[in-house]
């Protein structure tokens, strides 16, 4: 094993690696643009079909929401089941600012995001020292408490019936008569969330997050303040999720607790999409969304009428099989294949 660790009498001049190990911003930007272009294709093809356009709109939205969740849970290793709270804060804040004070949703999502970031940092801070499962059920508890409060404080939230936003079309209102407007809106959100994830992954905070996820002691020894890093990731993830919530509110125009705090449809869904697609990768959440959301919607439409619950049995079974056989998600499976191809035995060895 002579190649490893040959003693050096004097330092070798720095070698330029044969291939850039970290892709350049140039390459990343092109991949990003290319990916978005591919994601845009269904929109161009399906713009006439209202049914599929609706599904596509949800797909874009949830891709962005899953990417937002992945910032904290995938990169940071903090498996949150309480992101429904941030989603709801975004929905309520945007809806209330619009309905009560006539603030355009385009502007309202900003204070909504800020509020979500602040509240998120506050409530998650005491839970950071909890490990794995305990952190998950603590965040779950946040979701449940928030549900009860949202139902209870009727004067603010409209109680269990929630807030209805009347249909007053207009771009400034973020209410579109043409459903393609909404699809484009959600596409924009997905593009934003992805851009944030990409930039984060290649930033100091991103690397620090990964280090904290992998080994907190090693991270500290490298000069990383673990709490500060987790707080920043929480704020970012909460803010993005809130924006998605605000957009959702303007799409469905009904803001009610049973929908917003639903675990299978919202809180756990973000986790589901990221896990299936590949948690901790940039593209994973998007892949997960494009796989699961259309499948579920299609199954619901197909089977929803016949035997009650059948489509969910299928979804649940798919989820179970994915959990058992695709541990690292789709992105991980693709990655593994690429690794094997890259290191395939070459002739002459």
């Amino acid at each position: 094993m002579k190649s490893v660790g040959t003693p050096l009498a004097s330092p070798r001049p720095t070698e330029t690696p044969a291939q850039a190990l970290i892709p350049s911003w140039h390459r990343v930007a092109w991949s990003y643009a290319g990916g978005l272009a591919i994601a845009l294709v269904p929109l161009l093809l399906l713009s006439a079909d209202r049914f599929w356009l609706n599904i596509l709109t949800y797909t874009y939205l949830f891709a962005g929401l899953a990417a937002a969740w992945n910032v904290l849970a995938g990169f940071g290793g903090q498996f949150s089941l309480g992101h429904g709270v941030f989603f709801a804060i975004g929905a309520y804040a945007t809806g209330l600012l619009f309905m009560k004070w006539g603030v355009s949703p385009w502007l309202a999502i900003l204070p909504a995001a800020l509020a979500s970031a602040l509240i998120g940092s506050l409530i998650f801070l005491p839970t950071f020292r909890l490990k794995g499962s305990f952190f998950a059920i603590a965040t779950l508890a946040f979701n449940e408490v928030a549900l009860v409060f949202a139902n209870y404080f009727e004067s603010v939230t409209g109680g269990p019936r929630g807030i209805q936003i009347p249909f007053r079309a207009g771009i400034a209102n973020m209410i579109f008569a043409d459903p393609r407007g909404y699809a484009l809106l959600m596409f924009g959100f997905m593009a934003l969330a992805l851009a944030v994830a990409l930039v984060l992954r290649r930033s100091r905070l991103g690397y620090y997050l990964l280090a904290v996820r992998e080994d907190e002691d090693a991270a500290r020894a490298a000069g990383i303040s673990v709490v500060r890093v987790k707080l920043r990731a929480t704020a970012l993830s909460a803010a993005l999720t809130a924006i998605g919530g605000g957009l959702f509110a303007m799409y469905v125009r009904t803001i009610d607790p049973p929908t917003l705090f639903s675990l299978p449809d919202i809180g756990v869904k973000f986790a589901l999409l990221s896990l299936i697609g590949g948690i901790g990768t940039v593209i994973g959440p998007v892949l997960g969304a494009f796989l699961i959301v259309p499948t579920e919607s299609y199954l619901r439409a197909l089977l929803g009428g016949s035997v009650p619950g059948l489509h969910l049995i299928l979804m649940g079974s798919l989820m179970l099989l994915a959990a058992l056989f695709m541990r690292r998600g789709v992105a991980g499976a693709v990655d593994a294949l690429l690794e094997r191809w890259r290191h395939r035995p070459r002739s002459g060895r």
Binding site: A73, F79, P126, T127, R129, L130, K131, G132, S133, F134, A136, I137, A138, L140, A141, F142, E144, V145, V148, F149, N151, Y152, P264, V268, A271, L272, L275, I279, V307, P308, G309, L310, L312, I313, M315, G316, S317, M319, L320, A323, L324, R327
Partner: protein, 296 residues
């Protein structure tokens, strides 16, 4: 004063229900450290199992426990072996898999029952017992008695039997237990079976009290987690007293504060416990598991 007494009695009976539902989860969570979202569904299966026995054989749900409990034990073992054991190294996938099981169970039952609500009737269950001024329903009293008996039985089992001792060893230190020759995987398997059987017991005994519906598991799962965390992992006393406390808090909160806010109150307590004292009231689990470590 009367009203307070009434509330306390209600609280204790409710606490019995929570305790019974949680005692199995406590065992599973404490020993194997799995967040089993499907635990409420196991209770639900127990309830429907009792109904099945009742409707096909005409047996009282209390007799049905003799069938339901072993059945759930087997179901638990199968579930663990096929789904949970392969995912032991990946806790987020494991959590996610139990959630998938939740969805599957709920909807399979929904598909079979077509949304029809069922009730189980039992002569014994309907009887009421006067306790001073208050009338206590027999079915709830039976539950309180059952959870007390189960807690004592489980405690003795863990303390006195070889299997129980190996379960305790594995709870405290997996590595050390393995080094001492304990088959950790088999211990987990049996523990999950016992926890599921206890869920089945809860389900069967609860069937006279609630109208059965596929989603009824959801009523219990979050309360069960609150009880488990409050009482402390790996502690039978913890599940028992934790259940009573949660029940009492819910009843008192409903009476003094606002019935609408009941659930939020015990969640807030649960969060407070998690943050301040994650080992719970009686827990003996090593604090490092929960993230505590001596820090500068």
């Amino acid at each position: 004063m009367d009203a307070l007494l009434h509330v306390l009695v209600i609280g204790m009976l409710l606490g019995g229900i929570y305790g019974l539902v949680s005692i199995g989860l406590n065992l599973i969570f404490g020993v194997i450290r799995i967040v089993n979202f499907a635990h409420g569904e196991l209770v639900m299966l127990g309830m429907y199992g009792a109904y099945l026995v009742y409707s096909t054989m005409g047996l009282s749900p209390y007799v049905a426990t003799l069938i339901v409990v072993p059945a759930l034990f087997v179901i638990g073992i199968v579930l663990y072996r096929l789904v949970l054991q392969p995912l032991q190294t990946e806790s987020s996938m494991q959590i996610f898999a139990t959630f998938a099981l939740l969805v599957i169970f709920q909807n399979v039952v929904l598909a079979f029952t077509r949304g029809e609500g069922f009730s189980v009737a039992s002569g014994v269950a309907g009887m009421t017992l006067p306790l001073g001024e208050i009338r206590v329903t027999m079915s709830r009293l039976i539950i309180l008695l059952a959870v007390t008996a189960a807690a004592i039985a489980l405690h003795l089992f863990l303390k006195r039997t070889m299997l129980g001792k190996s379960i305790r060893a594995v709870t405290q230190d997996r590595q050390a237990a393995r080094l001492m020759g304990i088959n950790v995987e088999r211990t987990f398997l049996i523990t999950f079976g016992i926890g599921s059987a206890l869920a089945g017991l809860a389900g069967a005994l609860l069937s006279p009290i609630y109208t059965l519906s596929p989603g009824i598991g959801g009523n219990f799962i979050l309360a069960a987690f609150a009880v488990v965390v409050l009482g402390g992992l790996g502690s039978v006393a913890g599940a028992y007293f934790g259940g009573l406390i949660v029940g009492l808090v819910e009843a008192l909160a409903g009476f003094y504060v606002d019935p609408e806010l009941k659930q939020a109150i015990w969640f807030l307590i649960f969060l407070a416990v998690l943050v301040v004292r994650p080992t719970g009231l009686f827990g003996q689990v090593g604090a490092e598991e929960i993230g505590f470590r001596e820090q500068a």
